[in-house]
Symmetry: C2
């Protein structure tokens, strides 16, 4: 939950004068998102989300994020559409922060995804990858494989305090991934954070994707492996292969994986597990006093990672040979 | 900001089956309110607020709160109207908590109230007092004058750690208030927490009152003194007498104060200052690790209290003699 910056009614009214959205009727801070401050905005023109970009988002990246949402929406993907002000720009400043208004997307995120949800997510992820294929702005992945070891170094001294042996376990895994990370796989714009809370469903149909603030250029199949980690593990941290197969089948109904992507999938899945493990570990050992956000348990990803270490072939994820 | 209880989409859909509100379109936790969990709910029937009552609210008090909102709304006061389910009841259970849906009130709370806002609040407070006059359920004020000393006792040992001498200052003030608290003044249902964040304005007009979860039976003029404390002090903690006069004039345009209420007003104001001072002090010394809510500074109310200690007559608040 997150509202890091308070916005006064007077500042917001002044901000809205640059837009054609009519009179402001209501705004309320939303207890969602951990990177930015989000508000539900009601004006005579309807419902919108107002986002204030906080310091964890680099201002230079905002044109990529805003442009990507516009690009995807223009290609029929259901995602928040940035609202341009009368000056033609979507990005302005409010309360000292860069700020944008986007369209309100109906739907709810699913707390306990079932197989049909996993299939729908796979379809939507592949459609996003295809729709973004001709997007011309690029953004490097700040949490790509080469960034994992520096992140580990900042937290390694406290890793064994969370679970004995965790430091050596992570060091060995990074050695493995650095030696075995696949090269030559198809790349493109990936969502990079397509967890259940970023996918809305309405009447059992997928109604849209949100939160493109980790989107970047990287391996397409790596994005799929993030979704398998995020959607297909049961609460006891075992992989539900039925769900993994449904998610990957959904993806392949739009974009066929290449043989090299399938063969490397277990390594990509190890990578995406350690990527979320490391940021959770970092947040866990760096939680400030009085924090508004409860850090997520990094050990859930240790258990996912152990599963992927035992996997060797596409069939371990339900992919047919 | 507060969402203490997560609600799953599946539980919410099941809960809504008892209501005639159509299909659920969206729900989002709201980062407002410190006692309960609040969600913005959108269904085919419109926008609503869903409240889950957390443990600080006594379940036995809920019929009073729900009934009061229905009573006030029926008399034309703009406040959230509880939505009754098909069984005729507004109160049900969700995620293990008592829960109610109320109508969505448009408008924004004013971060920097001006004199006209203070006048409007005075009018609305008196209208609420009049509209509640024939409400038949009663609720004792759990934070009335006799409750202040026990509250002080739980926190007194740590008071001097916040400001040297604070413990003796509060003990002496409680001695004074217990000896001089007025008797025989008009009583009725009071809001008891009508701070700026509980009053909405739209296009400069007061559009409604919210958050009746401290409402109770007590001295009517005490409620007015709470508003003076909440609305009429400048950031440097001096009283803006123009605002106080406007607020009280607004109140008296609906309900004339009796001479005894005017004469006792500075004592009531000392009481309402120490009431908020003590709960803030309690929260300050009892803030749990990882708290979602940042406690408010009790010292702001020490400064308000010092002002009221120097006041002796109605004219000190702008009331004409």
């Amino acid at each position: 939950m997150a509202v890091y910056t308070d916005v006064t009614d007077a500042d917001l009214v002044a901000f809205l004068e640059a837009f054609d959205l009519g009179t402001l009727l209501s705004f309320k801070g939303i207890a969602e998102g951990v990177e930015n401050s989000n508000f539900l905005l009601r004006t005579e023109a309807g419902n919108f989300i107002l986002t204030l970009y906080e310091k964890r988002v680099r201002e230079g990246d905002l044109p990529f994020f805003i442009g990507l949402m516009e690009h995807l929406a223009a290609r029929g993907l259901s995602c928040p559409l940035p609202v341009r002000a009368r000056d033609g720009e979507a990005l302005h400043r409010l309360a000292g922060r860069p700020a944008a208004i986007v369209s309100f997307l109906e739907g709810m995120w699913v707390r306990r995804p079932r197989t049909a949800h996993c299939h729908a997510v796979g379809v939507a992820l592949a459609r996003m990858h295809e729709a973004a294929a001709d997007f011309t702005i690029t953004r490097a992945n700040g949490l790509a494989m080469p960034n994992w070891r520096p992140l580990f170094e900042t937290a390694r001294a406290r890793a064994d305090g969370i679970e004995p042996g965790l430091e050596a376990f992570l060091a060995a895994e990074l050695d493995f991934l650095e030696a075995n990370w696949p090269t030559g796989l198809p790349t493109g714009v990936i969502h990079a954070d397509l967890f259940p809370d970023n996918v809305f469903f309405l009447r059992e149909e997928l109604s849209g994707l949100i939160d493109f603030y980790f989107a970047c250029n990287d391996l397409l199949a790596y994005d799929l492996s993030i979704c398998v980690n995020a959607w297909c593990f049961e609460p006891d941290m075992t992989l539900n292969v039925t769900k993994a197969k449904a998610l990957i089948d959904g993806y392949e109904s739009v974009r066929k994986l290449e043989p090299e992507e399938r063969d490397a999938f277990h390594i990509l899945a190890r990578g995406s597990a350690i990527r979320f493990l490391l940021t959770r570990l970092f947040d866990w050992v760096n939680v400030p006093p009085g924090a508004l956000v409860t850090p997520k348990d990094p050990l859930e990803y240790v258990r996912r990672l152990r599963f992927h270490q035992r996997a060797t072939k596409p069939g371990d994820y339900g992919m047919e040979l």
